[in-house]
């Protein structure tokens, strides 16, 4: 019997500090037993439990794309017990990973549609995974226009700066990077909150589906903008967070009504959420 609680051993291959406040680091992990990589076959939107012996486990969205072979990437905010410890670990250290867990973005439904990606702050991780996945040449033709609105408080708090600049250069994806404010005279992108920029740059809900990830306040103000544009709640897709332990729908911790965010989610449409108790 497979033990769904047993992590695969991995080695930290590379650690990149993402933001100027140094609170976010991206960990590139490599499986110690190569055969485990095959078992860990994932799709964008899923997450994993990262395991640190002696400290515990944390659920973290998978930031790499399945099209990137040989490693996994996670971008981790420094918060409490486990994530603080992770931030002090070094390249070469051994840890564990369990998954992939949860559902994913609705890839079948997204095919043939315009995809609007809206992200705020550090909740851009599985959206990065999705973008990398979609712009891969063999996948790109499956989707119509791809637009991205991504914002952070300041330029220094944007994740994946190197890639954002690259994506800006491409003509098969429309980037709308924004910051709440900046005194950088060389800042060449937008200034303004994510909901405002969404209102300005996204002009149609026609055959479109929106993936929205960000802090609660951003989601709260983006939702009416999307609804005004004509997005039905079935085509507004959100990824939720809840405190988790098992990640497989057994420990009873992360329910919203009869749904477990870890197993039935973390991705839900707004339409689905409207039918569940408002408790998250």
């Amino acid at each position: 019997m497979e033990n769904p609680y047993l992590p695969y051993p991995v080695r930290i291959d590379e650690i990149t500090t993402e933001t100027e406040d140094k609170n976010l680091k991206t960990f590139k992990l490599v499986f110690i037993n190569p055969e485990d990589e095959e078992k860990f076959s994932y799709i964008p939107g899923q997450f994993a439990e990262l395991s640190v012996a002696g400290k515990g486990e944390v659920p973290i969205g998978i930031a790499s794309s399945p099209t990137e072979k040989g490693y996994l990437k996670f971008t981790i905010n420094r918060v409490g017990l486990v994530t603080k410890h992770l931030h002090n670990m070094k390249e070469g250290d051994v840890m564990g990973i369990r998954g992939p867990l949860g559902n994913s973005y609705p890839w079948d439904e997204m095919e043939g549609k315009n995809v609007v990606i809206i992200g705020g702050g550090f909740a851009f991780t599985t959206l990065r995974s999705s973008i990398v996945y979609m712009i891969q040449p063999e996948n790109r033709k499956k989707f119509k226009d791809i637009s991205v609105v991504y914002g952070a408080r300041t330029p220094g708090l944007l994740l994946y700066r190197y890639e954002l600049d690259q994506w800006e250069q491409r003509d098969d994806i429309k980037m709308h990077i924004t910051v709440d404010g900046t005194d950088d005279p060389d800042w060449k992108y937008n200034v303004g909150f994510v909901p405002t920029v969404t209102e300005q740059k996204i002009t149609s809900a026609e055959n479109a589906i929106a993936l929205v990830c960000g802090p609660p306040i951003m989601i709260k103000f983006t939702q009416p903008v999307l609804e005004k544009l004509g997005f039905p709640s079935e085509r507004i897709i959100l990824s939720l967070e809840m405190r988790m332990k098992c990640g497989i729908g057994i420990c009873g911790r992360c329910n919203i009504g009869d749904q477990y965010v870890c197993k039935d989610g973390p991705v839900f449409s707004l339409a689905q959420l409207k039918e569940l108790p408002n408790e998250y």
Binding site: E2, P9, E241, M242, R243, C251, G257, P277, E279
Partner: protein
């Protein structure tokens, strides 16, 4: 399958004779309560009880269980690699479990053994366990098993059922596993019709002694969001002191926490029973807590048992009617009352 008769002395002697082949757990009397204990030569089991204070759930799902272990010693080539803690899953028999508590294990089983994931410890331990039930001649005033799909002589989830006929036990195997166990015990004699009829009559009369009930028929059709917003939750939760007794005693509660514990350079990953009555249960690292208030937590407990479970599994409520939470809640919060509020609720 052959139903047998044992005198009570024979029964205990036979069990003692089988204790090398099975770990046998039996009810033992403490001052004012009964608890399941491992049978040894010295054990004096006592079958005169209404129910044990704690159900034997912990024999399948221990209150605290080591899952994994690891070394943190850098000199160890496998340092930081998490490994399964070896376990024996030796055959065990729980003798004297009440039918409601066996039913409860069935209600919990759908959580641990589901189409997508199998909890290996639960599954293996349940497989290696023989449940020998003791039918209830004298149900408590707080028992309401008959309204939630059980009954004082319900065989659901049991391998064997015992009927207490004063000086003898009528021992009736229900599953193959149960029959094998009874055969292993040897002893006993075949039950004759008189005793079988007597057992049946007694079981029938005890059915009428269950006078308490909860209404559940309309729960499935309620709109979950409306029930969630119902006005009665504040009042239901008002007196609750969040002690967690209800979840701790409940044979159908299954929530657990996972923690790492380190001693020197050795560490374990352990799971412990947890309670949705604790505010820490849902507290996130950011400080956000979707159930920071008592009322939200009390609502979660009842909604889980009487609505979410009902919707998810379409097999009734997540409650076996054992009445423990009713008897032991220090402020008399009563699931029978709450079920009625929920079942009768109209928007």
């Amino acid at each position: 399958m052959v139903t047998k008769i044992f005198t009570k002395e024979e029964w205990v002697r036979a069990l003692k004779g089988a204790k090398d082949d099975y770990r046998i757990y039996l009810p033992v009397k403490h001052k004012d309560f009964h608890a399941f204990e491992l049978l040894s030569d010295e054990t004096a089991p006592d079958f005169e009880f209404q129910n044990t204070r704690l159900s034997p759930k912990s024999l399948i799902f221990p209150q605290s269980e080591r899952m994994f272990e690891y070394s943190l010693d850098e000199k160890d080539g496998e340092a930081h690699i998490v490994k399964e803690t070896p376990k024996d899953f030796y055959p065990q028999a729980v003798v004297g479990i009440r039918p409601c508590d066996a039913h409860a294990l069935q209600l919990v089983n759908v959580n641990f053994d589901n189409p997508q994931y199998k909890d290996p410890w639960w599954v293996k331990r349940l497989e290696s366990t023989i449940l020998v039930g003791l039918g209830c001649n004298e149900p408590c005033s707080t028992c309401f098993c008959t309204s939630v799909g059980g009954g004082p002589f319900s065989e659901r989830g049991l391998d064997v059922i015992l009927h207490d006929l004063e000086d003898v036990f009528l021992v009736k195997p229900i599953t193959q596993k149960g029959e094998t166990f009874i055969n292993k015990l040897g002893q006993g004699r075949m039950a004759d019709d008189t005793l079988s009829d007597k057992a049946e009559a007694k079981a029938r009369s005890s059915l009428e002694k269950v006078t308490s009930s909860i209404p559940t028929g309309k729960l499935r059709d309620k709109v979950v969001t409306e029930l969630f917003e119902a006005p009665f939750w504040e009042e239901v939760a008002f007196a609750c002191i969040n002690c967690g007794t209800c979840t701790y005693l409940c044979p159908t509660c299954w929530c657990f926490d996972i923690q790492d514990e380190v001693l020197g350079k050795e560490g374990d990953r352990i799971r412990n029973w947890d309670s949705c009555m604790s505010p820490l249960f849902t507290l996130e690292g950011s400080g956000h807590n979707p159930r920071s208030e008592k009322c939200q937590r009390v609502r979660q407990r009842f909604m889980h048992k009487l609505k979410y479970y009902v919707d998810k599994y379409e097999d009734g409520v997540q409650c076996s009617g054992c009445g423990r939470c009713v008897r032991y809640c220090p402020v008399n919060i009563d699931i029978r009352h709450v079920a009625k509020l929920m079942n009768d609720f109209a928007q």
